[in-house]
Structure formats: structure tokens, C-alpha cells
């Protein structure tokens, strides 16, 4: 069995800090190695409802429902998950639900698995076509600033913001037996 090695960077803590600052109360995600530390931080925070999804498009509904009930919600997904959401994104656009999506990129720098490449190569374009503002981060030092700005634009302006965490930032997926 292949399992990814532990990834222990500090940038997930910066994202979590921004979630706390802007008052994110629900986080939807499909389990992901790149997001594993951020997911753990959300799971251990009793002010945040962590909602594990069977498919990313469920998270789009979650965000809308949270907003209807007066709460802010964020989504964590891989680039492949963006493709699963396309029609459901119209809900955010059509009603003006503010949303922050943090996308861990696959299929680019140093990708081991070519099956990740087709979706990874179009993720940014797909998000833009679906009405998202997109910001790409390659440098860990930029995470706090960009995620903070993205959260403010999303929740203060009811905009859809996606932040692409590049594969270079996350680190190559290491495969071990």
C-alpha cells in the first residue's frame, strides 16, 4: 500500500489563523494529504464544525446552508475536487454566497501520477470560468497575507475566492511502500 509521508509545514497554521480571525465556523473537506494539518487544526477546534464530505460538491451546498444560517464556511479540496463542483458552483454565483476554497494543487511541479495532470492543468481556468477570483501561492511566506485578503474579499463582499496552493509549496507527494 502506498501512503504519503507526513507533511509538517507551517503554512496550514497561517490559514487556520485566518479562519479564526474572520470567524469561519464550518469547514468542509475530503481527506487530503496536503490539507492534513489544517484539517487536524479544524477538527480540534470546538468553534469550528468540521464536515467530512463524500465528494467536494457537497461542500458547496454546505457553504450556502451555513451562510443562510449566518455562519461563514470554507472548503478544502484538491485540484481534482474542483472538477467535481462545477455545476454546484452556480449556487454560489447565483445567490451571492461568499466562499473561500483552498485548493491543494496536483498534476504540476514534480507530479508522480500523470492521471492528476489533466484536471490540475485546467483548475485555475475552470475556477475563473465558474466565477471565482483565483490567487496562486508558491511561497509559504505569502500564505498569511493572501489567505487573509481572500477571506476578507469573500466574506465582506459575498464573492467566490479560490486560493491555489501550488504543488511546489506543498511539496512533492512522496510515495513509500
Amino acid at each position: 500500500m502506498h501512503t504519503p509521508t507526513d507533511i509538517k509545514p507551517s503554512w496550514p497554521d497561517a490559514i487556520y489563523g485566518q479562519f479564526r480571525r474572520v470567524g469561519v465556523r464550518q469547514v468542509g473537506y475530503v481527506p487530503d494529504a496536503g490539507h492534513s494539518r489544517l484539517i487536524q487544526l479544524c477538527q480540534t477546534d470546538n468553534t469550528i464544525a468540521d464536515v467530512v464530505l463524500t465528494t467536494e460538491e457537497e461542500g458547496v451546498g454546505l457553504v450556502a446552508g451555513a451562510a443562510l444560517g449566518g455562519q461563514r464556511a470554507a472548503l478544502l479540496m484538491q485540484s481534482s475536487g474542483v472538477g467535481n463542483c462545477i455545476n454546484m458552483f452556480s449556487l454560489l454565483r447565483n445567490c451571492g454566497f461568499g466562499c473561500v476554497v483552498l485548493v491543494t494543487m496536483r498534476g504540476e511541479f514534480g507530479e508522480f501520477n500523470p492521471w492528476q495532470v489533466p484536471m490540475g492543468a485546467i483548475t485555475d481556468d475552470v475556477l475563473k470560468l465558474a466565477g471565482f477570483l483565483t490567487y496562486r501561492i508558491d511561497d509559504a511566506d505569502a500564505v498569511d497575507d493572501i489567505v487573509g485578503a481572500g477571506c476578507d474579499m469573500a466574506f465582506d463582499g459575498n464573492l467566490q475566492v479560490a486560493i491555489l496552493l501550488s504543488q511546489r509549496l506543498i511539496g512533492r507527494k512522496q510515495w513509500t511502500r
Binding site: R25, Q26, A49, V51, V52, L53, T54, T55, E57, E58, G59, V60, G61, L62, V63, A64, G65, A66, A67, L68, G69, G70, Q71, A73, N87, M88, S90, L91, N94, C95, G96, F97
Partner: protein
């Protein structure tokens, strides 16, 4: 089999501050026909997402009751969301599936429930606290009570007639529906 309009009308009698999310197509028309209300979030799209909107709302408003009214086609498209709801166990969320075993909006093609796929069994397998079928209008009062006081998550599969009923079209502007709902939640 149940008359869908009469069933939804009875389920929404004296609804108080019940929060209602209606799935696209006939479920939205049925909900509108029972009486327009600011605490109705009418969907005109986002097929497969209705139950998850209910979950986000139920988590955000744990002191209120949330009712999702939707069709079998929408529920089948979001079948995985039943597992997601089963993990979170929201005790204030109920889903009523208006099951005519057909896709009404697209010309009454048979849905999976027509072949015996059992949404009540799926809900039970997903750890719903209550899951039941209903097929008689006499059961409506008990189901209405379940919506207001039953321990969730709850799923009721209501076997409704295939009969076509006139469309009752509520507002379609998504921003307006959302804004009206949010204002009503915060003023209720």
C-alpha cells in the same frame, strides 16, 4: 398514494420558525403552493445539493428546526450527502423526499426508486435516527410532529402520486431569496 400538494400543505401548517429548503422543480412549486414564506429557501438549480444546504443550515442554527423538502431525483443525485449527514448527526434536520419515482421536470422518466431502490433503507444504513416511508395522508400529522420535535437526522420517504399538478412559481432571483431568508432568520 399521496397528493403532493395536500401533503406539503399539511406538513407546513403552523410552521412557526421552521426553516425550509426546497429542492428544484416540483418540490419548490409544492412549497410555494403551501404559501410563500421568507423562511423558504427555494432552489431552482443545484440539483443534488438540497440536503447539504440543509446540513449547513442545521449546523449554523442548532436551536431551530430545518426541513428539507425535495424530490427523489435530487435525493438520488446527492445520495452521498446522506452519509455525510450520518457522520454529523444533526438532531434538528429532517428530509422529506417527495417520491413519485419519476423525473417530473424532464418528461417523467423513471427514477431509480421506480426500480425499488429504497431511500429509507439507505438513510438507516447512514445512521439516521428516524427513517420511514409514508403513503397515506392520515400519517401527515405524525410526520409534521416529527419535523418539529423528532430527534434527527430524519428522513421520510413520501410515496406521492405521479399525477401532474399546475406549477406554482415562487421568486427566482437567487440573491433576493437568500437575502430575504437571512433577514428573516435574524429577525425571527
Amino acid at each position: 398514494m399521496l397528493d403532493r400538494r395536500e401533503l406539503v400543505r399539511q406538513l407546513l401548517i403552523d410552521r412557526g420558525d421552521l426553516l425550509v429548503v426546497s429542492g428544484l422543480g416540483s418540490a419548490t412549486y409544492d412549497t410555494a403552493a403551501a404559501g410563500d414564506h421568507p423562511l423558504n429557501f427555494y432552489l431552482w438549480g443545484a440539483m443534488g445539493g438540497t440536503a447539504m444546504i440543509g446540513l449547513g443550515l442545521a449546523l449554523a442554527q442548532p436551536e431551530r428546526r430545518v426541513a428539507v423538502l425535495t424530490g427523489d431525483g435530487d435525493m438520488l443525485m446527492g445520495l452521498g450527502s446522506l452519509a455525510t449527514i450520518g457522520v454529523k448527526q444533526p438532531n434538528n434536520l429532517a428530509i422529506v423526499v417527495l417520491d413519485n419515482a419519476h423525473y417530473g421536470e424532464t418528461g417523467m422518466q423513471a427514477s431509480h426508486t421506480h426500480s425499488g431502490i429504497d431511500l429509507v433503507a439507505v438513510a438507516l444504513a447512514c445512521r439516521f435516527k428516524h427513517a420511514r416511508a409514508m403513503s397515506r395522508i392520515e400519517e401527515a400529522a405524525a410526520v409534521r410532529k416529527l419535523l418539529h420535535t423528532g430527534e434527527g437526522p430524519i428522513l421520510v420517504n413520501a410515496r406521492i402520486s405521479e399525477e401532474d399538478v399546475p406549477r406554482v412559481l415562487p421568486i427566482r432571483d437567487g440573491h433576493a431569496i437568500k437575502q430575504r431568508f437571512i433577514e428573516a432568520v435574524h429577525s425571527a
